[in-house]
C-alpha cells in the first residue's frame, strides 16, 4: 500500500542515496586537493587534473540534483537551511563555481589569471567542498539554531517576515564552533582524499605516480578512520531528536543507536558499507597489482552515507533538529511536499535506474583505456 508516510520515507531514501553518491563522487575533490602533493612535475600534475577532469561534471550534477530533489520532496528544509545557514551554502557554491571553470580555462591560451590560479582553486574546492558538506551534514545530528513559524506569512507589511528565521547573525558559520561538526567535516575531507588516491591509482597508469598514490592512500586513510570512528562513537552515545505520533519532538537518550538496532536492514547497510570501504583501502595497499580499490571503497561509501542519512530521518526521528526551539525541528512529515507531488515525483524517480545505466555505459566507454602520458599527448580534448 502506497501511503503518504511511505512516500515520505521513499523520498528520504532517494535523497539519502543521492547524498551517498555525492560523497563517493567527491573523489574528484579529494584527488584535486592532491594535485601539488602527488604531481611533482608538470606532466604528473597534468595527469591528475585530466583524470579528475573527465568526471567532475558527475559530482557537480549530483550536487545540483541533490539540491533539486531536496527542494521537491522537502521544501521546508530548502527554505530553512539554505536561507538560514546562508554563509555555509554560499561558501560551498563559490568553491564549486570556481571549480567548474578551472578545468577548461587553466591551460588555454589567453588565460590571464595563470595556470596555477585555477589549479589552486581546484585545491581550494578540494578541501573546502568536502569539509563544508561534511560539517553541514553533521548538523543533521547536532542541530542548528532556527525557528519555524508558518503563521509569519499572515503579517502584511513593507516586508513580510520570514517563516524560517535563524537565531544568530553568523548564519551557519556558528556550526563551526561545534567540534563534532568539524570532526565529520574532517572525516569527509580525508575520505574524499582517500577515494581520490584510489581513483587516481586505478585511472592513471604511470610508474612514478602509482606508488605515490598508494602511499597517499595510507596517509589519508588513517586520519579518515580516526575522525570517522570518533564521529560514529559520538553518534551512538549521544541523545537524539525523536518525534512522537503527534509530531512533538523530544530529546531521547541513545536515539541513533536505538535507530540502528531497531532498523536491522539499515544496520546491515552500514556494516557492509564500512567493510567495503576498509576492503577498498587495504587491498591495494597489500597487493601491488591490485588497482581497483576505488570500486569497493566507493560502493562502501555510498552505503555508509546512505545508512547514516536513514538513521537521521527514519524511525520517528527529526532529521534537521533545531536546538533553539525543539518543536521547530524538521521531520519528514512536517517538511515534505504534498502527497500528490511526492507521488508525481515517485514516478519521475523511475528514471533513475535508466540514468544510472547510461552513465555506467558512457563511463565504461571513456575509461576503457587508462590515462598515460602518451594517451594525453594524443588526446583531442585536454585540460
Amino acid at each position: 500500500m502506497i501511503t503518504y508516510t511511505f512516500l515520505q520515507q521513499y523520498w528520504w531514501f532517494i535523497v539519502s542515496l543521492l547524498a551517498g553518491i555525492l560523497v563517493f563522487l567527491m573523489f574528484v575533490q579529494g584527488a584535486n586537493s592532491l594535485i601539488f602533493r602527488l604531481g611533482q612535475n608538470e606532466a604528473e600534475r597534468e595527469l591528475v587534473v585530466n583524470a579528475t577532469g573527465r568526471k567532475w561534471e558527475f559530482t557537480f550534477t549530483t550536487l545540483v540534483t541533490f539540491g533539486g530533489a531536496f527542494f521537491a520532496a522537502f521544501p521546508l528544509f530548502y527554505s530553512t537551511s539554505f536561507g538560514g545557514a546562508y554563509w555555509v551554502w554560499m561558501a560551498i557554491l563559490v568553491t564549486f563555481v570556481l571549480q567548474a571553470v578551472s578545468y577548461e580555462y587553466q591551460s588555454k591560451d589567453g588565460n590571464f589569471l595563470g595556470k596555477n590560479f585555477f589549479r589552486r582553486t581546484l585545491v581550494l574546492n578540494g578541501f573546502a567542498g568536502p569539509f563544508l558538506v561534511g560539517a553541514a551534514v553533521a548538523t543533521f545530528f547536532t542541530g542548528s539554531d532556527f525557528c519555524v513559524e508558518k503563521n509569519a506569512i499572515s503579517e502584511a507589511g513593507l516586508i513580510v517576515p520570514a517563516i524560517s528565521t535563524w537565531g544568530t547573525a553568523w548564519h551557519g558559520l556558528e556550526a563551526l564552533a561545534n567540534p563534532w561538526n568539524i570532526v565529520l567535516g574532517m572525516a569527509v575531507v580525508f575520505l574524499s582524499r582517500t577515494l581520490g588516491g584510489l581513483y587516481l591509482l586505478n585511472q592513471i597508469n604511470d610508474d612514478q605516480l602509482r606508488p605515490r598514490c598508494r602511499r597517499q592512500v595510507i596517509s589519508d586513510a588513517i586520519p579518515f578512520l580516526i575522525f570517522f570512528l570518533a564521529f560514529v562513537g559520538y553518534l551512538l552515545c549521544k541523545d537524539g531528536f525523536a518525534v512522537d505520533e503527534y509530531g512533538t519532538v523530544s530529546l531521547v537518550g541513545h536515539k541513533y543507536l536505538t535507530n540502528l538496532l531497531e532498523m536491522p536492514v539499515t544496520l546491515g547497510i552500514f556494516l557492509v558499507g564500512v567493510v567495503l570501504v576498509l576492503l577498498g583501502i587495504i587491498r591495494p595497499i597489500l597487493n601491488e597489482k591490485f588497482t581497483r580499490g576505488i570500486w569497493p571503497a566507493g560502493i562502501g561509501t555510498i552505503l555508509t552515507v546512505l545508512s547514516l542519512f536513514l538513521v537521521a530521518g527514519l524511525n520517528q526521528t527529526a532529521y534537521y533538529p533545531s536546538v533553539t526551539n525543539l518543536q521547530s525541528s524538521l521531520t519528514l512529515s512536517n517538511s515534505c511536499s504534498s502527497e500528490f507531488t511526492l507521488t508525481v515525483m515517485a514516478w519521475v524517480s523511475l528514471f533513475i535506474p535508466f540514468v544510472l545505466a547510461y552513465i555506467a555505459h558512457a563511463w565504461h566507454a571513456i575509461d576503457k583505456k587508462e590515462i598515460t602520458k602518451e594517451e594525453l599527448k594524443d588526446a583531442h580534448h585536454k585540460y
Binding site: 521537491a72 554560499m90 513593507l158
Partner: protein, 501 residues
C-alpha cells in the same frame, strides 16, 4: 517605519539585484550552449554521412569553443538554483510543492544526460564508434534543451501560475495537476521562444566568427561551410523567434496585462491602441493587433489596471476588477487566513469554518493583500519599455542580416560583400543585447510579483540582513566579471589561433 524594516527593504533590493545579476550572467552563456549544440549536431551529422575529415575538423573547432563557454554556464546555473533557497526562503516554502518538482526533474532527466554525453563528446573521439559519438553530441544538446524545458516550465509557472491551490492548513500552495503545470500553453510558448532565441544566438555566433575569418582572408573553406549551416539555422530560428514572440504578446495581454502596458509605456489604454516605436512616433492600431490580433481590440493601460476597466468582446461586456479593489479583497483574505490559523490553534471549529469560507471567497486576491500601495503594482516602465524595443529592434535587424548572408552565400558572392561580412560580425553583440533585453522585459515587467498575482517579492524573501546579501552580491559580481573577461579572452585567442588550412 522602523529601522529593522528599512534594513529589510534594502535586503530585498540586494536579493533582487543578486538574482538579476546571476540570471543575466547565466543567460550570457546558456543561449550559446543551446545554439552551438544544434550547429555542431548538424555538422557532425554531415561528417557521419560523408565521412569527410573536413567536417570532422570543423565540428571539433566549434566544439572547442562550445567547451570554453559551457563550463561557465554550468557555474552560474548552480547558484540560481540554490538562490531560491538562500535568498527567497518564504518563496521556497510557499510554492516549493509545485516549483521544486521541475527543478528536480531537470536534475534527474536533463543534467545527467548533458553531463554524461558531453564527456563522451569531448573525450570519445578516438575511443567510441562514430555512431556513438554522433549520438552523444546530439544527446548533449538534447540534455541542454530538456533542462531549458524544465527551468522554463518553472519560470512560466511564476508568470502564470496554474494547476495548484492554496492550502491554509499547510500554509502553502499545493500542486493539483502536474500536466497543467508541465505543459501549460505559457510554458510551451516560453520554451519555444527562448530555445529558438538560443539557436539564433549559436547561429549568429558561428556566422559572426566565420565572417571575421572571411574579412581576414583566413580559413575560407571552413568559414564558408560554417556560414552555410549557420545562416540556414539562423534564418529558420529567427523566423521561429518572431512567430513565438507574437504568441508571447497575445499571452502577455491575457495573463500579464500590466507587463504589456509597462512595455508600451501605456498609461491610459482603449480600443485600437497605437504602438509606440519610440516616444512620439506611434502607429495606430498596431498594439491592439499585437495584443489581441484585432485592430479594434481593447488594451488596458497601467492606470486602467489599477482602477479597473471594462470592454466589449464578442458582443459581451467584460469587466475587470481594479487592483485597488483586489487589494481590499486581498486584505480580507489575509485576515481570514490569520483567523483561520488562530481558530485552528484554539481548536474552535466554528470560527475555523467561518474563516475558511471567507478565505475561499477572497483567495484569488490573497497576494494583493501584501501590496502596500497600488502604485507599487506598476513595474519600472522606462526599463521595460526600452528593453522591449532593444529586443524587437535587434531581433528584426538580425533576421535581415541573416537573410542577406544566407542569400549571398547561396549565390557564391559572400566574400565580395564586405559590408555584409562586417554586419555579420557585428551581429554577435546584437544577438546578446536582444537576449538580455528579452529577459529584462519578462522579469522586470512582472514586478512586484515573484509569482504573478500570488506572491509579491516583499513576501518572498529570507530573513537575512542586507549587509550579508550585499557582500555576496559583490563577491559574485567580482567572480563572474573576472571569469567572463577570462572566457572572452580565451575564446578570442582560440578563434584567432585556429588554422584550418
Amino acid at each position: 517605519m522602523t529601522i529593522l524594516e528599512v534594513a529589510s527593504s534594502q535586503g530585498l533590493d540586494w536579493s533582487r539585484a543578486q538574482f538579476a545579476l546571476t540570471a543575466c550572467y547565466h543567460w550570457l552563456f546558456v543561449p550559446l550552449t543551446l545554439g552551438l549544440a544544434l550547429v555542431m549536431g548538424i555538422m557532425e551529422t554531415i561528417y557521419y554521412k560523408t565521412k569527410d575529415e573536413f567536417w570532422k575538423k570543423t565540428t571539433q573547432f566549434w566544439q572547442k569553443l562550445f567547451g570554453i563557454n559551457f563550463a561557465i554556464g554550468v557555474a552560474t546555473g548552480i547558484i540560481l538554483e540554490f538562490e531560491f533557497g538562500t535568498n527567497w526562503s518564504n518563496y521556497s516554502w510557499f510554492v516549493g510543492d509545485i516549483f521544486g518538482a521541475p527543478l528536480a526533474i531537470e536534475g534527474i532527466v536533463a543534467f545527467f544526460m548533458e553531463a554524461t554525453f558531453i564527456a563522451v563528446m569531448f573525450f570519445g573521439w578516438n575511443k567510441v564508434s562514430r555512431r556513438f559519438h554522433l549520438a552523444s553530441t546530439w544527446l548533449t544538446g538534447l540534455g541542454a534543451t530538456l533542462s531549458a524545458w524544465w527551468i522554463l516550465v518553472a519560470n512560466s509557472w511564476m508568470q502564470h501560475p496554474v494547476g495548484m491551490d492554496f492550502n491554509p492548513e499547510t500554509v502553502r500552495n499545493e500542486m493539483m495537476d502536474f500536466f497543467a503545470v508541465a505543459f501549460s500553453p505559457a510554458a510551451v510558448n516560453k520554451f519555444c521562444h527562448t530555445v529558438t532565441s538560443g539557436w539564433m544566438t549559436g547561429a549568429v555566433f558561428v556566422v559572426g566568427v566565420s565572417c571575421w575569418y572571411l574579412l581576414r582572408g583566413r580559413n575560407k573553406k571552413m568559414a564558408l561551410a560554417s556560414i552555410k549551416v549557420g545562416a540556414t539555422v539562423g534564418v529558420v530560428s529567427a523566423l521561429l523567434v518572431l512567430f513565438t514572440g507574437d504568441r508571447s504578446g497575445i499571452e502577455m495581454a491575457e495573463n500579464q496585462p500590466m507587463k504589456l502596458a509597462a512595455a508600451e509605456g501605456l498609461e491610459k489604454g482603449g480600443k485600437g491602441a497605437a504602438f509606440s516605436i519610440v516616444p512620439g512616433v506611434e502607429v495606430p492600431g498596431v498594439l491592439s493587433i499585437l495584443a489581441t490580433h484585432d485592430i479594434n481590440g481593447y488594451v488596458p493601460g497601467t492606470q486602467d489596471i489599477i482602477d479597473g476597466y471594462s470592454y466589449e468582446k464578442d458582443g459581451k461586456t467584460i469587466t475587470v476588477k481594479g487592483a485597488k479593489e483586489r487589494m481590499e479583497s486581498g486584505k480580507i483574505a489575509l485576515q481570514a487566513f490569520k483567523d483561520f490559523r488562530e481558530s485552528a490553534e484554539k481548536d474552535d471549529q466554528k470560527a475555523k469554518n467561518e474563516a475558511r469560507a471567507t478565505f475561499e471567497k477572497h483567495k484569488a486576491d490573497f497576494g494583493y493583500g501584501y501590496i502596500e500601495k497600488a502604485d507599487d503594482l506598476i513595474p519600472p516602465t522606462g526599463l521595460v519599455y526600452w528593453s522591449f524595443r532593444v529586443m524587437v529592434g535587434c531581433g528584426s535587424l538580425l533576421l535581415l542580416i541573416l537573410i542577406g548572408l544566407w542569400w549571398q552565400q547561396r549565390r557564391g558572392k559572400l566574400e565580395q560583400s564586405k559590408l555584409l561580412l562586417h554586419a555579420g560580425l557585428w551581429s554577435i553583440p546584437l544577438v546578446y543585447a536582444a537576449g538580455q533585453a528579452g529577459w529584462i522585459v519578462a522579469e522586470v515587467g512582472r514586478q512586484p510579483w515573484a509569482i504573478q498575482d500570488l506572491l509579491p517579492v516583499n513576501a518572498a524573501i529570507s530573513g537575512i540582513s542586507a549587509g550579508a546579501v550585499q557582500t555576496t552580491f559583490f563577491i559574485f559580481l567580482a567572480i563572474f566579471t573576472v571569469l567572463l573577461a577570462c572566457e572572452v579572452r580565451i575564446l578570442c585567442r582560440a578563434i584567432k589561433g585556429h588554422n584550418a588550412e
